[in-house]
Every structure is written in C-alpha cells, then in structure tokens.
C-alpha cells in the first residue's frame, strides 16, 4: 500500500515534468491555426511555415553564431584561469572565485540592466556583439565551476610525473593536463552552447535589431499564440536531447 503511494506520487511528478513537453510535440502536428483541444486534424503544416519563416531562420543563425563564438572565447579565457585557480594561492583568490560566479548567483535581469547601462559608455553598442560579451561573462562562471571540480579530481601526481620526466610546465599543460580533462572540456562546451542558445534575461537588454532564437520566440508569443511555435519548440527539444545524450556519453567515458 505504502509502496503504491510512493511509486504513484513519483510517477505523478514525472508526469508533471513531461506532459507539458509532450503536449508541445503533439500539438506541433496539428493542422489547425489555434491551439485547441481536442485536435481535429493532423498535418506537417506548421513545420512548413517554420521552414519558410525568414526572420525565424535568421534568429537561429544569430543564436548559433553567438553561442559558438561565446563558447570558444569563454573556454580560451576560462580554462587557463581555472587551472591557475586550482593550482595557485594568491591574494584575492577567494574574491575572484566569488566574482566569477556572480552572473549565475545574481539574477540575470540585474546583470542585464547593468551591462545595458555600462556597455555604451565603453563604446560597446547594443548588438549581437554586446550579447556575445554578456554571454561570455556568464559562461565563464560555467566553465570555471565545471572544470574546477574536474581539476580537483585530476591526480596531482600526473603533473608531477611529467615534470619528473623532464617536461616543462607548458609541455605538461598541453600534453598531460588538457588531454586528461578533455571530456570535461567538451562537456562544459556543450553546456555553454545550450545555455547561450537559451539565454534570455541578459540578451533581452543587450539586443538591438537582430534577434536570437529565444527572443524571436518570445516576440512570437507576445504577438499571439501561433502554432508555429509548437514546431520550433519541438525541434529545440529534440536538439537538446541530442546534445544531452552526447554530453552524457562524454562524461561516462571512464578514462577521463
């Protein structure tokens, strides 16, 4: 009896988590022009509309570009710095660790309006570049948290063994340290891509004319419910699952 109660409530919660997502997928195949219940006819109509929606496709392109460049730059800046945070003690280290986390501990809207107010003062006009700079800033927090825990699990003797065998710090960093945290870097990169693609609060304030995908969808939702959103949402959902499966495969690799 008690067993049924626990199992039942767990199943209910899972239903609460997944039914809404499944609803979107289901409705994306509706032929009707409003989201009504029950669905009377099915078609791929809305996928066609989506595929011909120029501004939506442009937004996808913008999001991909912002996500790609932000992730690459965040890794280039973040990985060496995380290594330094892991290895060295220096004045202000604790402070730096707190500052780097600010964009994910503090609400996006405040970070957003702060950047909105300040960026034009240093010559960064509102644009996709400003969005990218905003994204890199919060992706640094992701890179540092993800990789710091990985560095902590890395056997310190590996680095010492490399020095012991005559490798300089630079050689050691590239031949021993980076290859051994490779899968964690890939995992962090995937997480960065997804988060950048989804980001709204900061993007919302830094964007000019060129929309990113979530902002475009936000606009569509504000204009009224169009079933086209069902189709694009379904695709986003599927893309997310693919990326998640990829990242799980990387994180499960035992030699990391």
């Amino acid at each position: 009896m008690r067993r049924i109660f626990t199992t039942g409530s767990a199943a209910l919660v899972l239903a609460f988590i997944y039914l809404p997502l499944l609803t979107i997928i289901w409705y994306s195949f509706s032929a009707e022009s409003v989201n009504s219940f029950p669905i009377k006819a099915y078609s791929l109509e809305w996928y066609k509309v989506m595929a011909n929606d120029e501004s939506l496709l442009r937004a996808v392109g913008n999001s991909l570009r912002v996500a790609f460049f932000s992730t690459v730059i965040a890794l280039f800046i973040g990985v060496p710095a995380t290594f330094a945070l892991h290895k060295f003690d220096f004045i202000g280290k604790k402070l730096l660790e707190r500052i780097v986390l600010m964009p994910i501990t503090l609400p996006g809207i405040v970070t957003g309006v702060a950047m909105l107010s300040f960026f034009p003062k240093i010559g960064v006009e509102l644009s996709l570049v400003a969005v990218g700079i905003g994204h890199i800033t919060f992706l640094l927090a992701i890179v540092v948290t993800q990789l710091l825990s990985r560095f902590k699990r890395l056997d310190p003797n590996l680095e010492q063994a490399a020095y012991d065998l005559g490798a300089t710090p630079l050689t050691t960093f590239f031949t021993v340290i980076i290859p051994n945290i490779r899968t964690a870097i890939i995992g962090a990169a995937l997480l960065c891509l997804v988060l950048s693609m989804d980001e709204i609060p900061v993007t919302f304030f830094l964007i000019a004319r060129d929309n990113t995908l979530p902002i475009e969808i936000y606009g569509m939702m504000r204009r009224g419910i169009t079933p086209e959103v069902n189709a694009i949402s379904t695709l986003i959902f599927l893309a997310t699952i693919v990326i998640l499966i990829l990242s799980l495969r990387f994180s499960r690799k035992t030699n990391d």
Partner: protein, 290 residues
C-alpha cells in the same frame, strides 16, 4: 609544489579572465550602483547629482515596496511548492529504486528538463492553460464547466505553476544528490531499531537531506525573485514582479536611476537570502562537504 610556475606564467594564465571580469562584470555593477544614487530628468536623462531619492521612493511608494513584498511571498510559495513536488520523486529514486542503471535513467529524466529552453517550457503552459487549451477542453468535455474559463491563463496562478514547473529540476538536483549521499545503512539501522517508514523518513532522511533541500529551495527562491518573463508571458494585468518594474524603468518609464536602485535592492535581498541559506546549509550538514 610551487616551483614550476613563474609569476609571469601565472599572470598569463589568469590575467585575461580577471581583466574580462573587471571590464564586463564588475564595472557594470559598480556603474549601476553609482547610477542608483543619481536622478533622472523629465526626458529620462541621467543627471549626475548624488541623492538617495530613488531608494527613498522604493521604501515609501506603495507600488515598489508592495511589489517587492508580493514577489518575496510568491518566491517562497514557488520554492515550497518545488520542494513538495521534488521530495517524493527524489526519495523514490534514492531509496526505493534498487538497480543502478534504473537510478541513472530516472535521474537523467529529472535533469533533462533543466537543459530544455526556458521559453519552450513556459510556452507549454500557454497551450495547456489557454482559453481553448487542454485544461479548458478537458473540463468542457467532462461537463465540469460549460464555458471556457478565461482566468486560468494570464493570472498569478498560471505564473506560479509555470515557475514551479521550470524550477523543479533546480530543486530536485541538489535534493537528490543530498538524499543519495545518505548511507543506506543508516536507514537500515533505523528500521533495525524499530522505526517505521514514516519515522525513518522524518527523523533520519529529512534531517540528513536538509542541506540539499535548503540549497534547492534557495535556487527556486532566488531565481523567482529575478524572473520577469513568466509574469509577462503567463501573468494577468496585475501580475507584476519586482523584476518587471526594473524592466519597465529601463524601458517605457525610462527612469534609469530608479531602475538601478530597484535592481540594487533586489541584489541586496538575494545576497541576504544566499548568506542565510549558506549558514543553514552548514549548520545542518551532517556529512563532510563533498
């Protein structure tokens, strides 16, 4: 091991990030703090003149402090709801599922929505709660109502449901991690000493899992306090969170100093919540931090 790296090498590794954070994170924050102490003229231009006017306005004008209080209450409600919803599922996976592979699968199912776009998840509730949506359709076909209910969507209720839905994975992840850490032998020991399932749950599992529950609830609380999208997308005309006020002040109302001041107040509140939560997490933690 401090011999291998010169100071120049250390600077080379660290400096790019430090410079970046100062230029694009710290200075913007300092800037809006400064801006919050200035005032705005009739055209929305910021006048460089130091005054506490904006802060005074926040704590004397009902619009601001009442919205702040309402946001706080809504945040607590969301946090508590998330905990209530996550707890049975996390408990089930941590203690009732035996096979490791099934555990991993179920845990992945909790984590997965965390990766799914915020806007997509918010949108799903528009379909469900809309005027011709699933909920109304269902209630109509079962004959429980005769007219579609319009108040379900665009209300405080819809906003809260949506936030609870979006934030549940944030709460469930640390909660599950905490419950999973509890040695199964403790549960067995409690049973061995004659405690029933309920006693074991409330006297052993909840107290030991408390740090994870607190940290999850804090996530939900803080994220709701900073959210401005759910009220716009699902809220009614009166659903106004404090973040919406910030958004308006930087947009249509165009009073940046006041907007900055509200932002700083939100920051201060959130820092306070985080400090209190960290204190309690530490106080109730029975295991060495991992």
């Amino acid at each position: 091991m401090t011999t291998a790296y010169s100071n120049r090498a250390k600077a080379f590794l660290l400096l790019p990030m430090v410079v970046w954070l100062i230029a694009f994170l710290l200075l913007p924050y300092v800037f809006i703090f400064a801006q919050s102490l200035m005032k705005s003229d009739a055209f929305g231009n910021v006048v460089v003149e130091f005054t506490a006017e904006s802060y005074i306005k926040i704590f004397t004008s009902k619009l601001y402090y009442a919205t702040l209080l309402k946001t706080l209450m809504m945040s607590c409600l969301v946090a508590v709801s998330c905990v209530i919803i996550s707890l049975p599922l996390c408990y089930f996976i941590a203690f009732k599922v035996q096979s490791e592979s099934r555990k991993t699968m179920l845990y992945t199912l909790i984590v997965l929505p965390f990766w799914v776009s915020y806007i997509v998840r918010a949108y799903s509730w528009k379909i469900i709660l809309g005027q011709f949506g699933i909920l109304n359709g269902f209630l109509l076909t079962t004959g429980l109502i005769t007219e579609p209910l319009e108040i379900i969507l665009y209300s405080d209720f819809a906003t809260i449901i949506c936030l609870v839905y979006i934030l549940t994975p944030f709460v469930a992840i640390p909660m599950y991690t905490a419950l999973e850490q509890i040695p199964k032998s403790l549960v067995e020991a409690a049973k061995d000493l004659g405690a029933g399932s309920l006693t074991t749950f409330f006297r052993i599992i909840i107290p030991l899992g408390l740090p994870g529950i607190i940290s999850g609830a804090t996530f939900a609380l803080v994220l709701t306090m900073g959210d401005f999208l759910a009220p716009i997308l699902l809220g009614g005309p009166n659903t106004l969170f404090i973040s919406n006020i910030v958004q308006n002040l930087f947009g249509t109302s165009n009073d940046k100093p006041l907007g900055s001041a509200v932002g700083i107040v939100i920051l201060a509140l959130i820092v306070l919540v985080l400090e209190v939560s960290t204190y309690f997490e530490k106080k109730y933690s029975s295991f060495k931090s991992s």
